[in-house]
């Protein structure tokens, strides 16, 4: 789960990371009032869960409340890479920016430890820095049983040639960002940029944070922070139904049991010239309830011209799965052609049941993908 900038920065501030004074506005009038309270010079920032909002015109400086109101009016409702702006963050402007630093905590999968990354080349896309000038990125790993130690932030600070007088404050920020990460079961806490202001102090101007969905059960406060207004309706419904669904841009809807097989089904559709409309994993067992819910969600996408249902019957037998599919199709009315492929235990019997109700069936994955691509092309 990704959080908005303002949510991330507030969580950082709870652990002592200095952030600009500011608040969220949902109307231009609110932005005006906030600007007045903040003393007049502000930055108005679109709150969207995507990068590149600066280039899209979603971040603007205002010198007085009138200008802030006008800019907020432009930014609110703006579309940034398919995301509509519903909120702006109105932050006090930093008192000058001397330098921009990158700082993040994330999981290093290979080392199986939280890792802190820092670079003096902040303010830009860190992946670009990593690709072009990897020597400018400094990393330390933290053993959760030991915690962050000051020599580790000294290593980062001295590597970046941070002015000596800022090391102590930098350590507090690294420590705060690491604590925010651990306390909230984050998978990423990132400050980009962490600026050295014209007054010579450190300030977290922008923030990003992702939470491990698997840990939300023990963070009810964070679960309530989920930015649902940006989550596509179908993905929200899938989550409620316990299905894993990701909408894509193609025309062949996919329903598969198991994540690896679901990815493979998308791959093979593409291999035979089609484009998958979604990723959808209905879980290891295919029940009539999960098939019905999945079908409704897939068909809510108007781009879908054909549906490929690919179920491997293992412990769940193929004939049971087939009856479940028949039952589900009785409940969901549609003209969209369906190709159903069953494999595994009792698959033959399952296919016979599906043939009886006049459905396009397939035994192999290749056959199923070719039939689905053909059905979508002729639709």
């Amino acid at each position: 789960m990704n959080l908005y900038e303002y949510q991330a920065k507030r969580l950082f501030a709870e652990h002592g990371v200095p952030i600009p004074d500011g608040d969220v506005a949902t109307t231009p009038v609110e932005a005006r009032a906030l600007t007045r309270d903040l003393g007049g010079k502000v930055v108005v920032k679109a709150q969207v869960l995507t990068g590149g909002r600066g280039k899209a015109g979603g971040v603007k400086l205002a010198d007085d409340p009138d200008e802030a109101e006008q800019l907020a009016g432009q930014i609110l409702g703006m579309d940034i890479k398919g995301h509509t702006v519903h909120k702006v963050l109105v932050d006090e402007q930093a008192p000058g920016i001397d330098q921009e630093i990158y700082l993040a905590v994330l999981i290093d999968r290979d080392r199986r430890l939280p890792m802190i990354m820092a670079s003096a080349a902040g303010g830009v896309d860190i992946e670009q820095v990593a690709a072009e000038t990897p020597e400018k990125i400094f990393r330390v790993h933290v053993d959760p049983a030991v915690g962050l130690r000051s020599y580790q932030s000294t290593y980062l600070a001295s590597g970046m040639d941070l002015p000596r007088e800022l090391w102590r404050d930098f350590h507090k920020i690294v420590s705060g960002l690491y604590q925010t990460f651990m306390a909230n079961d984050a998978s990423l806490t990132e400050i980009n940029p962490l600026v050295i202001t014209g007054e010579g102090s450190l300030l977290a101007v922008d923030g990003k944070m992702s939470i491990d969905d698997n840990a939300l059960y023990r963070h009810p406060r964070l679960a309530e922070m989920r930015p649902t207004e940006e989550e596509p309706l179908a993905e929200r419904e899938a989550r409620a139904a316990g299905l894993s669904y990701i909408k894509l841009d193609g025309e062949i809807g996919c329903m598969v049991n198991g994540a690896g097989l679901a990815m493979t089904t998308m791959d093979i559709i593409k291999l035979y010239g089609g484009e998958p409309a979604n990723f959808l994993d209905i879980g290891g067992a295919a029940t009539p309830e999960s098939v019905t819910a999945a079908l409704r969600i897939i068909l809510s996408d108007p781009n879908v011209k054909a549906v490929l249902i690919n179920i491997f019957g293992g412990i769940v037998r193929g004939d049971e799965v087939a009856r479940g599919i028949v039952q589900a199709l009785e409940q969901v009315e549609t003209d969209v052609p369906m190709v159903i492929r069953l494999q595994g235990t009792n698959a033959e019997e399952g296919l016979r049941i599906l043939d009886e109700v006049d459905m396009t069936t397939a035994k192999t994955l290749t056959d199923a993908a070719q039939k689905a691509v053909a059905a979508a092309e002729s639709a």
Binding site: I107, R109, D110, R112, L113, P114, I126, E127, A130, A131, D143, P144, A145, M182, D185, S187, D212, D213, N214, A215, Y217, R218, S244, I246, L248, V256, N257, G258, A259, G260, L261, A262, M263, T264, M266, D267, I268, I269, K270, L271, P276, F279, D281, G284, F312, G314, I315, Q343, G344, T345, T364, L365, T366
Partner: protein
């Protein structure tokens, strides 16, 4: 004949009295697995499918000599169950549950490495060793009906995709030594290299099938290991060529981040290591040596 499990494996099922635990324990028993005990706190003294239930794993080990554990408890209790098994001296722990927080897995893995216990999973189907046409040893949920004994070792990050491949092998009369699902989480107990090493050392395994997916660099590391240490042929399939970057494809570990963990990168690394990589799973059988 096999890796990790064989006819000497004595299993304790943690969560035996639950719906999932009871169902899959019955399947494991039917296949011939020796389940010597179950554990559910507060239900010690009960019996499920003729198996005695204990309150703690330690009791199950003392009373019944269990040396392996399968955990069928919900995700939020699973890391506790893993610690308990390791603490009781269980050397092989299989955890099926999906949804253990990553920070918990960091601590779990670190603890197990110190204890010397091996964990398979979490978020995995477990493992199975076919001994005869209809029986063998199974720890987890892989359907026994799709396996048959033979010389091919299978290791995978996925569940049903593995079943697909194994089923296709069995249909063609190609048997398996052991099939291991290592799980789809970003941090797990056993990685590809661990299993490849065991297959390389297992005299009954003649070749290996590796089924990977996008995310992380386990496949790239496996490729390096294969080129340096494996004498047995390896055939692979990587899922997720069409997955968009930045989105988790179901499995918590299946995500392309910052341009790394792509299917193409993994395929290239494996091919450079001399591994034959199938374009789709049905092709794997044709690529075997």
């Amino acid at each position: 004949m096999s890796i990790l499990i064989d006819e000497n494996t004595r299993v304790v099922v943690q969560g035996l009295t639950g719906r999932q635990g009871a169902f899959h324990a019955e399947q494991m028993l039917e296949y011939g697995t020796e389940i010597v005990a179950g554990v559910t706190p507060g239900k010690g003294g009960e019996w499920v499918h003729g198996v005695p239930v204990f309150n703690t794993v330690k009791k199950a080990v003392q009373a019944k000599g269990a040396n392996a554990s399968v955990i069928f408890v919900p995700a939020r209790f699973a890391s506790g169950a893993i610690y308990e098994a390791a603490d009781a001296g269980i050397s092989l722990i299989v955890c099926i549950a999906e949804g253990i927080p990553v920070l918990d897995m960091i601590r779990v893995r670190n603890y197990l490495d110190h204890k010397g216990s091996r964990l398979i999973g979490p978020n995995c189907p477990g493992l199975i060793t076919p001994l005869t046409a209809g029986s063998g040893v199974k720890l987890g949920i892989i359907p026994a009906s799709i396996v048959t004994p033979g010389p091919v070792g299978v290791v995978s990050r996925s569940g049903t995709l593995t079943y697909e491949v194994v089923y296709a092998l069995t249909e063609k009369g190609i048997g398996q030594s052991t099939c291991v699902g290592i799980g789809g989480d970003p941090i797990n107990g056993t990685d590809f290299i661990d299993v490849l090493r065991m297959f390389e050392e297992d005299p009954e395994t003649e070749q290996v099938i590796l089924i990977g997916e996008i995310g992380g660099s386990d496949e790239e590391q496996a490729a390096a290991y294969i080129s340096q240490h494996m004498t047995k042929p390896v055939t692979a399939f990587i899922a997720g060529r069409s997955a968009p970057p930045g989105r988790r494809m179901g499995h918590a570990g299946a995500i392309v981040e910052g341009g790394s963990g792509t299917a193409q990168g993994k395929i290239d690394a494996l091919q450079d290591a001399g591994v034959r990589v199938a374009e789709h799973p049905e092709q794997i059988v044709d690529l075997l040596r």
